[in-house]
Amino acid sequence: MSAASVQASVQASVQASVDAAVDSAVGAPVSGRLGDSPVRPDGVAKVQGSFAFSGDLSADGFLWGATLRSPHPYARIVSIDLSGAWAINGVEAVITADDVPGKPTYGLIDQDQPVFASEYVRYVGEPVAAVAANHPDTCRRALEAIRVEYEVLEPLIDPERCVDGSFPPIHPKGNVFRHQRIVRGDVDATGDVMVEATYEIGMQDQAFLGLEAALAIPDPGGEGVELYVATQWLHEDRHQIAACLDLPDEKVRLTLGGVGGAFGAREDISLQVHTCLLALRTGRPVRIAYSREESFLGHVHRHPARIWMRHHATSEGRIVKVEARIVMDGGAYASTSSAVLINAVTHVQGPYACENAVVDGWAVRTNHLPCGAMRGFGVVQACFAHESQMDRLAAACGLDPVEIRLRNAMQTGDRLITGQVIENVAPVRECILETAALPLPDEPVGGHDGDPMRLPGGAGLTADRSHIRRGIGWGVAIKNLMYSEGFDDYSTARVTLRDGVASLKFATAEVGQGFVTLAGQIARSVLGVDDVVLEPIDTTVGSAGSTSASRQTWMSGGAVDGACRLVREQLFAHVGAVHGVDPLRLAIAGRDVVDTMGDLRVPVAEATAGQVFEDTFEHHHRPTEELDENGQGNCHTAFAFVAHRAVVDVDPELGLVKVVQIATAQDVGRALNPLSVIGQIEGGIAQGVGLAVMEEIVQIDGRVRNANFTDYLLPTFLDMPDVVATLIEQPDPMAPLGAKGVGEPPCISSTPAVVAAIRDAIGKDLTRVPVRPSDIAF
């Protein structure tokens, strides 16, 4: 076989495999318009196991890639000897920092994270080298054969030592990622009542089930590379990868591989640059797929935080002033720490009106695992603190938890502690009242039939009914939507209407949230078509921004809607010209173009026969500002609200918990796909329950002790409460489709609601999540 035909056969096989993955990522057509709940195009394949995730990608003649990682939280690299790896038969490439042709570092905001560590390693798991070989076992032996000599240094593991400056810098950019203060109103204001406490939030992992995986295919001659990868933001990945590879952006082409969950952990670069480098070095396709342990080490996590709060209020429970001191442990590299911090400090007042505030926040660098985006993005931490405080305040004022929240609920027109006016629909009161109106569980402790599996301890049969106490707790949250502080996170979509079929092209990462379903609903509603084709999700169209910050329904939904409307104008112009009708009189009714002032009615399929209408639209949200030194400024784009009420059964002696029910009313603007909204609510609550009672990455002396699913526990079905939900539908005039993002709020105040319910059951003060059995039992 000639070299050319080998190349052709590799390409053909890659294409077949990739086509299958892309088809699987995009899926078959669905029916349904806005407000319906059509079945997801990728749903059946995912349930049946035929969906191709990025870990299923392969190409003829591909090599396996693997990564050598630091065993030390902090050490100086004295020397690296690669000769042992090169000596192994089947090893095709061994690369280190010396082999990075372009920018040696990457990062979403501040590019401080090395592609490979060169002088220092700063966390356990930091990449030091990578290999490509003909078999995973060869890779393993090659990694073992690399000799790295380290000078082990004392790790920085106490974030307070970053704040007080007592630890020497562990990175040239120092040990503080960002410090932000908010000062508003009368800083000396006091009330009749004052409550304060310090709260701690542990490190949660996104724990998506589809592990990191990518396939890179080099262009002939190494002038470019094609990368198939599970990510949240194709264009940002491309930009960072291209800089490291020293290639122009357009020479790096990304296609979305099937994504098995993201939750923020795929926003940063992990294996992307390594995979491309190995492919370019060897001239062959290279595939890297992480194990679960490697995944825990290889992506960013939710920031552990320590938050002191003091509330001053009138004796009637009206908040006079909020004080807070927030320290977030960002781990070894910046990632999005500075933005996470801003979310924490600007949301620490909660969804409550407040005139006066003094808030101090730090995001700091330590030798822990790097932290960045995770569903809730800084607000989860703030919410656990402010909601715990609201209960403390209620107790101090002799009010119940619902009343204290109603008295302080913010509304449209109120000013935040940043000075920003809430211009969105802000149905905080409605969220609380509608949640309170939902029925409490009618089942007694242990269920109607006394099933011991429904008691705390579940299958372990640890308790009898008489040992159990029930509690009820509340949580209410405010969450910003989209990006903040002047960032223009626009989204692009292109729509082609031809012969009654609409083709949609966008780079919006489908990570499970269901945009592939929603995009079709929008096109059907605006264009009056049944058939919608989704083109591959890749970088051959403009950026869609990140699938994060609860933003894609608003942003990419707005882009698809905008492009469809432009195309509809072309259609109306065409129909108007053909039939001699002013296009302004035309509208879509069902599947037809109709004259609103006459009898004309033309099926869209007929009107578009032999015609091609195409347009592209970029949706930009309104501009935002950076905060000034006193934390003042219109830094956020929009807000959404939610309330949660948890009913929890607790075994006080053993400290075991069964969350029985979570009731919630969520401000969704408009439910474009009610089933998807409920899915987001249930999934978010599962994640919130997980943080409340079990999910935590345990690091001792900078070493992760539970990078596996034996010891990092996620809720099972038996841990998942019944969820009763009400959607508060008040379409937001600022949102392109009236719909707010719904992904993050469910996981934010569900956590404090569960903890409050545990407190209610046992009468103990709990100031840390996750709540451990020993926290309850002792």
């Binding site: 579940g458 372990g460 009898d464 009914r465 008489s466 010891d711």
Partner: protein, 290 residues
Amino acid sequence: MSVTVALTLDEALTALATDPAATVLAGGTDLMVELNGGHRRAASVVAVNRVRELRSWRHDPAAGTLWLGAAVTYTEIAQEPIAALVPALAQAARTVGSPQIRNAATLGGNVGTASPAGDGLPVLAALDAVVHLASAGATRDVPFAEFATGPKRTVLQPGELITGVTVPVLHGYQGYSKVGVRNAMVIATASACLAVDVASRSVRFAMGSVGPVILRAPEAEAIAAAAADFDAGTIPSEVVERFGAAAGAAARPIDDHRSTAAYRRRAIEVLARRLLARAFPAGAPIGGDA
């Protein structure tokens, strides 16, 4: 890696005689995790999960014993008819992993791995089970209490295979409880089995995850046996407290990333009290309606 799939016990023992260093594979629920995680290497494997003799079990009513082949799965143990003969073992079986794991996981594997957190092991300890071992040309029986010598260390010799376990079929209450940080599919933070043998007027209590091996609590057992009215099924309620304290005192827990020694000891005290109260419900100080 060479893999021998044995279909008979002789084939398995011959393979192990030829290659005593071979790794034995039954359900693979422990082994595959270790292999995939790179914590263990296996140059050669002898798979025993298709050995018919090891997949069977036998109840001998005359002797009052139940012999369970080493490759009997936890799914089988969780169900009738085995569940009626050793109820505590069935309860333990229902806490093992998920249904998929229980379909593969075997009793022999649980015994052979000898983890202090092995879910079925406190039951075997409480019942004074006998572990049957065989090698080419020889067999021997080892009391369960002597089988494990430390965490994941046993008296099993190279070339030797666990063929099964014999437990007595007792008359009297038996129960198992397991504490974990999740309501299902969780590794034990502490576990316990209590078994009453009316015939011998004895109460047996064994504990998991609170020592290097599964522990018994002889002082607690003596306290309960002395105070119980085995015919009426009652025990003075103050004895329940003493029993719990004595059980807790017999635990030898450690601090690790999963929990603290103090919590584990507390958990054993609570489980001991609750299990004894279930065994003798009339005398329970709490949970009187249970």
